[in-house]
Amino acid sequence: MPVPTVRELLAALERGEISAVEGTIAALDEAERQNPQLNAFITLDRAGALAAAREADHARRHGSAGTLAGVPLAVKDNLLVAGLPATAASKMLADFVAPFDATAVARLRAAGAVLIGKTGCDEFGMGSSNENSAFGPVHNPVVLGRSPGGSSGGSAAAVAAGLCAGAIGTDTGGSVRLPASFTGTVGLKPTYGRISRLGLIAFASSLDQVGAMARTVWDVAKLTEVMAGHDPRDSTSVERPVPELSHAAESGPEALRGLRIGVPRETLGEGIEPAVDAAVRVALDAMAGWGAEVETVSLPHTDYAVAAYTLIATAEASSNLARYDGMRYGHRTGRPGGLAETIARSRAEAFGPEVIRRILLGTYALSAGAYDAYILRAQKARTLIRRDFEEVFARVDLVVMPTSPTTAFPLGARNADPVAMALSDVFTTSCNLAGLPGISVPCGRDPDGAPIGLQMLAPWFAEGALVSAAASWEAIYRAQHTGDP
């Protein structure tokens, strides 16, 4: 039996129809039943989850329940949950136990959420298919044999399969939005700096953001609202008030009236799977039917985003992953030599091929003689990409496009081709490079039943407008597809 949505469950808990313990047991049982097929979870924490559920029931009986009291959530395994393994899906951290909670996790706990386990992902967040994991690939529960997308594939699969009410992922180049698109769920990456990165195992520090994943816009809005806010322990966390996103997510289709929507000409037509192109155009027509003003815009540097992202992300990753030397934590080789030899051997043994590939590219691009030709150019291209959005948002309120040019591809289809895999992120990376908030919401299925995601981008710190528009679209879509999960 699938776990209800966050909102449905909160209502049932408030009405006393179910206790947090009962809901948590149901979620854990469902996760244990389906995990052998999906491999969505690396760790399930029955004891910890039940303890938290008992506390939530106690708090509710005494009138002190937090806003998420008793809601079972899953957490991507590159975020620290104190006392639980944090493997980042890597052999390097296979035995690492988190000594503290990530700030985002601590805020969910403080709100009474029940954390049932840690979900699989691409190793250190590096990948778009959840096939780069030392713990095996995650499977898409909606379409057999297909990737759930990555790198937050485990969280997406867990949500789509109803193993939890919601989940937390991370998004560096699309890793919340792409899996949401591939699994027919909702994924929100907030503006860079909205949610603290303390306790997020770093991949690319100027791009990484924590993001919520769930089955409805209201749910992701609520989770984001709880996690967001300044953290004095993260110097990149911004000091801005957090809007009431769950309130913004109450919008119906009528809220679209007068909303100016820009559709980048670079994101429809040639190179897009016909079913994706058609579904997005149908969605745009429907929104126009409710009074949105839809116009074609241009993001002329879209075609350069993956190249810029590849250089910047791998350079930052090569620096961030230098800490894994097998000395203070992580894998140390069983064949040690001198210090340098031990470090080099430990790293080569424990990192998977995609991680090694990215470290090598990043190190090469940063090395003397190469920096100006690669990194500096990529950072300047990043400026042009940002300027594209500044110009577009002077004219429109929202940018709408497909989340991906394709639906979920078969497992094994792209993991031997690093370039093809990188191009999976062609429509998501610009958002990270610019630091914008973006959301993926379902907008249809292809002839094989594979979900199609509609991506909306808003100006910096305009998450309220973003979730409002996403909720409006969701209401239209659900009215048209009442049979969909």
Binding site: D95, F96, V97, P99, Y192, G193, S206, L207, S235, H301, D303, Y304, V306, A307, A308, T310, L311, S318, A322, G326, R328, Y329, G330, H331, R332, P336, G337, G338, L339, A340, T342, I343, A344, R347, A348, F351, P353, I356, R357, I359, L360, L361, T363, Y364, A365, L376, R377, A378, Q379, K380, A381, R382, T383, L384, R386, P418, V419, A422, L433, A434
Partner: protein
């Protein structure tokens, strides 16, 4: 920074990969080096797309939000204990991390 002359498949060599692997502290066997040569060439071909851009007078974006170096009062606050910090260490004894020798026979 004007567009550069387009380059064909970047000429990454085995020597380049071995040099970069040394910088990155990665011990790669010969097979891994060959794979890396091929991978890097493919990826550098992908990123060579940026050569077509005219970046004259464009400032680099290093970070999406303005960075600052916030300070706090110099006050001792509770943190993790030594035991907690060493709990994940591969080798420790007497409250200290143990590591291979770096001198006298080390690299």
């Amino acid at each position: 920074m004007s567009p550069r002359d387009p380059i064909d498949t970047p000429s990454v060599t085995e020597a380049d990969v071995r040099r970069v692997a040394l910088l990155a502290h990665l011990e790669l066997d010969d097979e891994a080096v060959q794979r890396a040569v091929s991978d890097l060439r493919q990826l550098l071909t992908l990123v060579a797309k940026l050569d077509a851009l005219d970046l004259t007078d464009v400032e680099p974006t290093i970070h999406p939000v303005p960075l600052s170096a916030p300070t706090r009062h110099d006050k001792v606050v509770p943190t993790l204990s030594r035991a907690e910090l060493l709990a994940n260490a591969p080798h420790s004894a007497g409250g200290l991390l143990l590591a291979p020798r770096a001198v006298d026979g080390g690299n």
